[in-house]
């Protein structure tokens, strides 16, 4: 799975470039995220601006990344398209992830949460 990453302060922004997160790409995604977590990144922003479909396994991979971060880390989501947003709403993922409109808002929220 192709992903773009940016480090802003202590926040790592991950932006998948593929349109879909399914079983196969979800596995790649999870492995990559685990790798970054292993390198010490604990505050992650997942920018889904390019993603227009997430299947059940793909969503499962994203959730398992959040779980892997544990209480010492945090993962928020931004740039959610309508189709993905409706799936988040249906599965109540909006209760699991904090969702922001833009990358900037998400980064600021994570950074300020760490400061406070």
């Amino acid at each position: 799975m192709r992903m773009e990453t940016t480090v802003v302060g202590n926040v790592l922004v991950i932006k998948p470039l593929d349109k879909t997160i399914d079983a196969a790409s979800g596995k790649d995604f999870k492995e990559a995220v685990m790798d970054w977590v292993g390198k010490g990144h604990r505050l992650l922003v997942l920018d889904l601006a390019n993603v227009d479909f997430v299947d059940s396994s793909g969503l499962g991979s994203v959730v398992s990344c959040l779980k892997a971060l544990g209480s010492g880390g945090s993962m928020v989501v931004c740039g959610v398209q309508e189709t993905v947003g409706s799936l988040f709403k249906l599965t109540r993922m909006n209760k699991v992830f904090k969702i922001f409109e833009t990358q900037g808002e998400a980064v600021r929220a994570l950074a300020s949460a760490t400061v406070s």
């Binding site: 227009d52 059940s56 969503l59 959730v63 398992s64 309508e82 409706s86 249906l90 109540r92 993922m93």
Partner: protein
């Protein structure tokens, strides 16, 4: 045919019973006697004794449990019919007097309305004479012999989470997945809609198309749409029947088709409880089940009767459908029904000549000699329309559609139906003329109180000897037939509320039977604030007219001493109508709420364990929703707010459920505590587990219906209850208007104040310069 069905263990039906036992004649003779004896003239004093004596017998006899079943049941019905028929004969022979053109016209209108009322009452008695409660038809132990089922979920513009929850519940049904094909039929994203000339509409349709398709992919079900929206829901289903005729994705097409409105969430046992009937009877085309509503309709909600009284549709699903079934006349209600695909296709699919395509389809298939079955257990859970406007929109569609059937496919003349089936369909169509009749009853006394028009020529003694016993007998019979599922005066209330709007809708259909078009009933709307329904105006007009009519009646009482009896009768009648209008005012003031998910009331045991405590606390679950639940415990020190608990429960089907939940609030209740808990969403699959627990167990809905039906209410109590609800509703309405007026005046004051200040500033500037 009926004998065949009985031999299949499907219970008794009157058709077979009458044929088998030779009881036909024994019922025909009393019926003929009733007709004959109704026409015998009696002196008024004898009529008093006869009518009130029979009412007393009716009242006493109907209390006995033994008489609930036929043939005792038939005796009660004949007795009631006799009292009412004597009244109708009296009305026709002694009260229709020509005293002037206008008087006579109104008198005839009132008489016709009464004839309608009597006819529908008599048809109701016939339909419900012999209700059929079927035995279960279990599927064979070997699942390979079970029929393949296609599930169709038609959708048009409903919120996606509603469609999603229904689809999730379909995937959780207790049926082999390889024999289950689930399709979302999206009419909101058709090609025609996506290419709408309006760019905005086209974009919205494309968005919806993408979203519903993504939803279907996510839930691993099939997505279908079509080129255009021809014939609305019927066309949508027919297009799906065609495109799935050979199955999809290498899967076999369904032998049966389950049709579900997109807000009708099926319980786990739906197919297990219904599909078996099709294996027993190859000529069976339909198994219909009740529509169980999780939320109150606007009448129940705004008058706050939801918890104490059976829901409006329970009379139909809890009594009438059993009666229809006994005559092989259960009809398709558009959703929560399983149909045999090849018979549906043979009939040309779902019919589309009228806007009640469901009943029309069933009529066609019954006429072809196929059978239907009604299973009275609620196994889908749906949403009622939430605003008064949506409610009227839905009822107007039903009324117009059934009257279209009456006009275009009149069941009395359709070839192939048996006489009882004709009467069943006639009853279902004819019922919808109530709007006109009820409107006449609501306004008739005004003609006398305002203008002294003789719309009803009878003395008080005659009224007491004929009319009042007839009213009592009708109410006793209705209570006997429907008492558990419809409390007294609620039918009249619902009819009164709808009549103002349905009467014109019915008239327009009579004028142009092919004109009405299908309008989707909105579901899941947003109602966060109280507001006045835009349809409220006619009830204020009626209120003013009724109050003025009392004044006019008082004047008439003083000015015309010979008319005291007439004033008394019409004054009482006017007062009765006033109660309905007060209640209607309560209904049109729509109560808002801040709810998240709809809650289902329940009463079941569960266990909770506060996180890492190792203790188990028994609790009673009082209500449940997709968001959480309300629990009650006798513990003196329950888990505090913010604490995470583990909730463990077992449903009536034997499945165990476990959830983590947050204690959102606690409240002291009696000796224990009430806890409000929110389910914790752990992962993307949690919603499946929650949905499965909340909507999977149909016995919870059965218990809920039974709880509401447990306490039949007497006539007098029901009258005062309605009066109280009416007054409370009207006061709430008045307070609402007062609040609206105050806020409008305040707004107006602010605007005026602003303008005055502006003017003062301009003036000051001008003076300075």
């Amino acid at each position: 045919m009926r004998s065949d069905m009985r031999s299949n263990g499907q219970g008794n039906s009157p058709g077979s019973f009458l044929c088998d036992c030779g009881l036909k004649l024994s019922i025909v003779f009393p019926l003929l006697f009733v007709f004959y004896a109704s026409a015998i003239y009696l002196d008024l004093s004898y009529q008093y004794v006869l009518a009130w004596g029979l009412v007393a017998i009716l009242w006493i006899a109907s209390r006995f449990q033994a008489i609930q079943e036929p043939p005792g049941r038939i005796f009660i019905l004949l007795l009631g019919a006799f009292v009412s028929l004597r009244y109708m004969v009296f009305r026709a022979t002694e009260t229709l007097i020509y005293t002037g053109f206008l008087d006579f016209s109104l008198m005839a209108l009132l008489f016709l309305s009464e004839c309608y009322g009597f006819a529908i009452h008599a048809l109701g008695m016939f339909v419900n004479a012999w209700p059929l409660k079927r035995e279960a038809a279990p599927l064979p132990p070997d699942p390979s012999r079970w029929p393949v089922v296609d599930v169709f979920i038609p959708t048009y513009n409903e919120p996606l989470d509603i469609v999603g929850i229904t689809t999730i519940a379909c995937t959780q049904m207790d049926y082999p997945r390889e024999k289950l094909n689930i399709y979302i039929l999206d009419d909101g994203g058709t090609l025609a809609k996506r290419n709408d000339p309006s760019p905005e509409k086209a974009r919205a349709a494309r968005n919806r198309h993408e979203q519903v398709r993504a939803l279907a992919d996510f839930l691993e079900v099939s997505y279908l749409t079509r080129d255009d929206n021809a014939h609305a829901k019927a066309g949508n289903i027919n297009a799906a029947l065609e495109s799935t005729a050979s199955g999809q994705g290498g899967r076999s097409p369904g032998d049966l088709v389950l049709i579900l409105d997109c807000d009708h969430v099926p319980a786990k046992d739906f197919l297990r409880s219904t599909a078996g009937y099709f294996l027993q009877d190859p000529k069976l085309f339909l198994v219909q089940t009740p529509h169980f509503f999780i939320n109150p309709d606007p009448v129940e909600k705004n008058l706050q009767t939801f918890q104490d009284h059976p829901g409006e549709n329970e009379m139909f699903y809890g009594a009438v459908q059993y009666g229809l079934d006994s005559w092989n006349g259960t009809f398709f209600c558009g959703s929560a029904a399983l149909l045999r695909r090849d018979l549906l296709v043979e009939a040309g699919g779902v019919a589309g000549d009228t806007i009640t395509e469901d009943a029309e389809t069933a009529l066609g298939l019954h006429a072809k000699g196929y059978n239907s079955v009604y299973v009275g257990k609620p196994m889908i859970c749906g949403l009622s329309p939430e605003t008064f406007g949506d409610f009227i929109l839905q009822r107007a569609r039903w009324a117009q559609g059934m009257i279209q059937i009456f006009l275009l496919k009149n069941p009395l003349f359709v070839k192939g139906l048996k006489l009882p089936q004709r009467l069943c369909y006639l009853n279902s169509c004819f019922f919808w003329f109530f709007g006109g009749a009820r409107f006449v009853f609501l306004t008739a006394p005004l003609a006398y109180l305002f203008f002294g028009m003789n719309v009803y020529n009878a003395t008080l003694s005659q009224v007491l000897a004929y009319a009042v016993p007839h009213v009592f007998a009708s109410m006793l019979v209705s209570d006997f037939l429907y008492g558990r599922v419809r409390h007294p005066f609620f039918s009249e209330l619902y009819e009164a509320i709808q009549s103002v709007f349905l009467a014109p809708a019915v008239l327009s259909t009579l004028k142009s039977p092919r004109a009405p078009s299908f309008k989707v009933t909105p579901k899941g709307g947003d109602l966060t604030r109280d507001f006045m329904s835009p349809l409220a105006f006619p009830f204020y007009v009626l209120l003013v007219l009724y109050l003025l009519a009392f004044l006019s009646g008082a004047y008439r009482w003083v000015a015309h001493p010979l008319e005291h009896q007439g004033v008394l009768i019409c004054g009482f009648w006017n007062g009765f109508n006033l109660i309905f209008v007060l209640a209607s005012l309560g209904v049109v003031w729509q109560i808002g709420d801040q709810r998240g998910d709809h809650r289902i009331m329940t009463d079941e045991e569960a266990l909770i364990s506060p996180e890492s405590s190792g203790v188990e606390i028994p609790v009673e679950m009082k209500d449940i929703s997709l968001g959480g639940c309300r629990l009650q415990t006798r513990q003196k020190a329950p888990p505090k707010r913010g604490r995470i608990i583990e909730l463990r429960a077992k449903d009536s089907l034997g499945n165990y459920h476990r959830f983590d939940a947050d204690v959102a609030w606690t409240k002291r209740k009696g000796e224990g505590w009430e806890l409000g808990c929110e389910f914790i969403i752990e992962d993307e699959l949690t919603i499946y587990r929650i949905g499965s627990f909340v909507y999977g167990d149909s016995n919870r809905w059965v218990r809920y219906w039974e709880a509401r039906r447990r306490h039949p209410v007497g006539t007098l109590k029901a009258f005062f209850y309605l009066l109280e609800r009416g007054i409370v509703g009207a006061v709430r309405n008045a307070k609402g208007i007062y609040a609206l007026s105050r806020s409008a005046l305040k707004k107006c004051g602010t605007v005026v104040e602003g303008e005055v200040k502006k003017w003062c500033r301009i003036k000051a500037k001008t003076e300075i310069s």
